[in-house]
Assembly symmetry: C2
């Protein structure tokens, strides 16, 4: 479903305006990820929930309750997510991968990660296929750095793995007509025939196993799963389940999502500490007051402060510390500069660790793509 | 270009009515294959022209004059044709292959033969992919039986070779939008997204070599080459040249083309002598008179007699013999039964020989698809 509300737009290729997530749940017809279902998950894994769940960064779902039932009753499930390699990755891009890894660690299940070099080439007018493939290589390094299990994770790039996927993709494509993709994705007469075929490919991995597939992904990807859910039964597969994440807001405020073409809106995984600090101090939209005096007197507003929201959504693991920061900032005790300094340190540490792992990841690309246990199996088997 | 004239329709998926080939030349904007150009070809090959050329079974072309120039000036060319494996092949299906082989024999060039199992699966509602693949196997046997050079001919099946073709296919697809395929092929909102992507794939082999590609094919395939010719320059490749064949008329008359779903319209490559004779005597539309007496008196009309037209278009190699038959039939000396008997013998011999070769072809499938010199090269190289 394409949403072009008065105030905001969310499609797989476009996010504009300030997204109203409650409205999205109604428009997309998904379910809110409520406390009850999260408690069931907590009981099942016997662990503390990831902050993405505790703090509702993942806020919506389809059939997540059935995934829990599958776990409870021993049928298991598998995980699927992906990345369109259109440029360098920023911290927001990691959210689905970190969530996916968390589920893999807790339940020991297989993870399939699709790198859609074809889609990005087809969607972006100025991008060459070589560029999309170079970004695929770079992005895969970032994804591996998240720490997936090399023998239970298969990373595949569409233009490489197409030979295996195409027969199943055309079976899916035969059941999707132009009217449907026009309605669901807002395609027009000037949409190219490669991009209009692509939705069939994105559905293929949901049929990689005869178990329920759980897809942690940003909400903008939901339209694909809506089509998948209409088709799955006729193929004898499960309807895909999904949990949907919000977008980490751009540094500059709450409009749209972080964008590679506007570097001031995002922190990239390749930024150095100095750049990170500079961007946060220069661009991070603040809920503080114009002067120290006023701030001490009136206090800051963490609800509209991007630095605080980033801590809450991704970088402050400790609930108690987060609460203290929130209170301190709201009371006026903590200044905007102090909040930004704290965030810059947190992200600096995060990125340093990421870069260290990224160096190691270079040795692992072949394992995740071709040689790991799951990867080998996926290159040997026939899909149908 | 889709043609839906008042009297007839010609698209890659549909031929209806009695095709007016001169009108098609005007509508499609192709060139008639005139005597002058055929004389140039004859001089170049230093041989007798194939009866398909002498008798204008191939009646239209695009840039065939430039192919001759490429030969004259030493640049060479390559051949490309194909088959949609939707069922058993009939004698009419062999026309492009026989023509292609003739050019390969005369000029020693490479031949690429695409088996579009994906297209037929996507186009025909009731066909499964397994069925399309089984027909691919059967049809490839028939095609090999035509006698191509195993080291200069590559037969490839889309669902097998897609891994090599897809990167180039999406580069082509990016330049073809929905409006274009709707206008050219008559696609509608209910066309599936697999079929609407397919034209990009059919264009790929025209870029297999950096030489001019000559495509001997039935005229209904021309819309693909029209798109190819608009795009080729931007890829640094040659515009495809084509020679277009007429359809061998159905046994039952001149409406439409021979059809697998109406077995009385066609002779299949698997028919036995008895069936061939039966079909010709029962169904072949005759230009003869209702009684022997009237026939002797008024004579037959070879111009509307399917048996005579089949001899002329495909089965009587000897121009002198053909002329004698024509005169004899027109004068009333030769009766319809005698004409049919003559044709039934000719086709019987043709099919017997074809079946003999078809047995040998089983040993050659692997050579043409994977192990021959050209096939090996095509599986090793990257396309771009």
């Amino acid at each position: 479903m394409e949403t072009q509300e008065e105030d905001f737009t969310v499609t797989p290729w476009d996010v504009k305006g300030r997204v109203d997530y409650e409205k999205l749940i109604r428009i997309f017809g998904t379910q809110p990820l409520e406390d009850g279902i999260l408690r069931r998950l907590k009981d099942l894994c016997g662990c503390e929930l990831h902050l993405f769940l505790r703090r509702k960064v993942f806020f919506s779902h389809r059939d997540f309750d059935l995934v829990l039932k599958d776990i409870e009753e021993g049928r298991g499930f598998f995980l699927y997510t992906g990345r369109g390699p259109s440029g360098p990755m920023h911290i927001g891009h990691l959210i689905p991968f970190i969530m996916t890894k968390w589920f893999q660690d807790r339940f020991g299940v297989n993870v399939y990660i699709m790198i859609t070099d074809d889609e990005k080439f087809l969607d972006e007018e100025d991008m060459t296929l070589d560029e999309a493939r170079r970004w695929a290589y770079e992005n895969i390094l970032d994804i591996i750095s998240v720490g997936f299990d090399p023998d239970k994770t298969f990373i595949f790039q569409d233009t490489e793995y197409i030979g295996k996927m195409y027969p199943l993709a055309i079976k899916i494509a035969k059941k999707i007509n132009w009217n449907l993709v026009r309605a669901v994705f807002g395609f027009t007469g000037s949409t190219n025939i490669g991009l209009s075929f692509y939705p069939a490919l994105q559905i293929v991995p949901t049929f990689f196993e005869r178990r329920r597939c759980l897809i942690p992904a940003a909400i903008d990807q939901d339209p694909y799963w809506r089509i998948q859910r209409d088709l799955a039964g006729s193929f004898g597969y499960f309807k895909a389940a999904a949990i949907h994440s919000k977008f980490l807001p751009p540094l500059t405020g709450f409009e749209g999502k972080m964008s590679t073409s506007k570097p001031e809106t995002a922190i990239f995984l390749t930024d150095d500490r100095k750049t990170i600090r500079y961007k946060i101090f220069k661009y991070a939209f603040s809920g503080g007051q114009p002067t120290v005096e006023l701030h001490r007197k009136l206090g800051g507003n963490p609800d509209i402060d991007v630095s605080f929201q980033w801590l809450k959504m991704m970088f402050e693991e400790d609930d108690k510390v987060l609460r203290e920061i929130e209170e301190s900032y709201r009371s006026g005790k903590m200044l905007t500069g102090e909040l930004k300094e704290y965030l810059a340190e947190k992200i600096g540490d995060f990125i340093d660790e990421h870069k260290r792992r990224r160096e190691e990841a270079k040795e692992l690309i072949h394992v995740f793509k071709y040689d790991g246990k799951l990867a080998r199996y996926m290159w040997e088997r026939e899909l149908e």
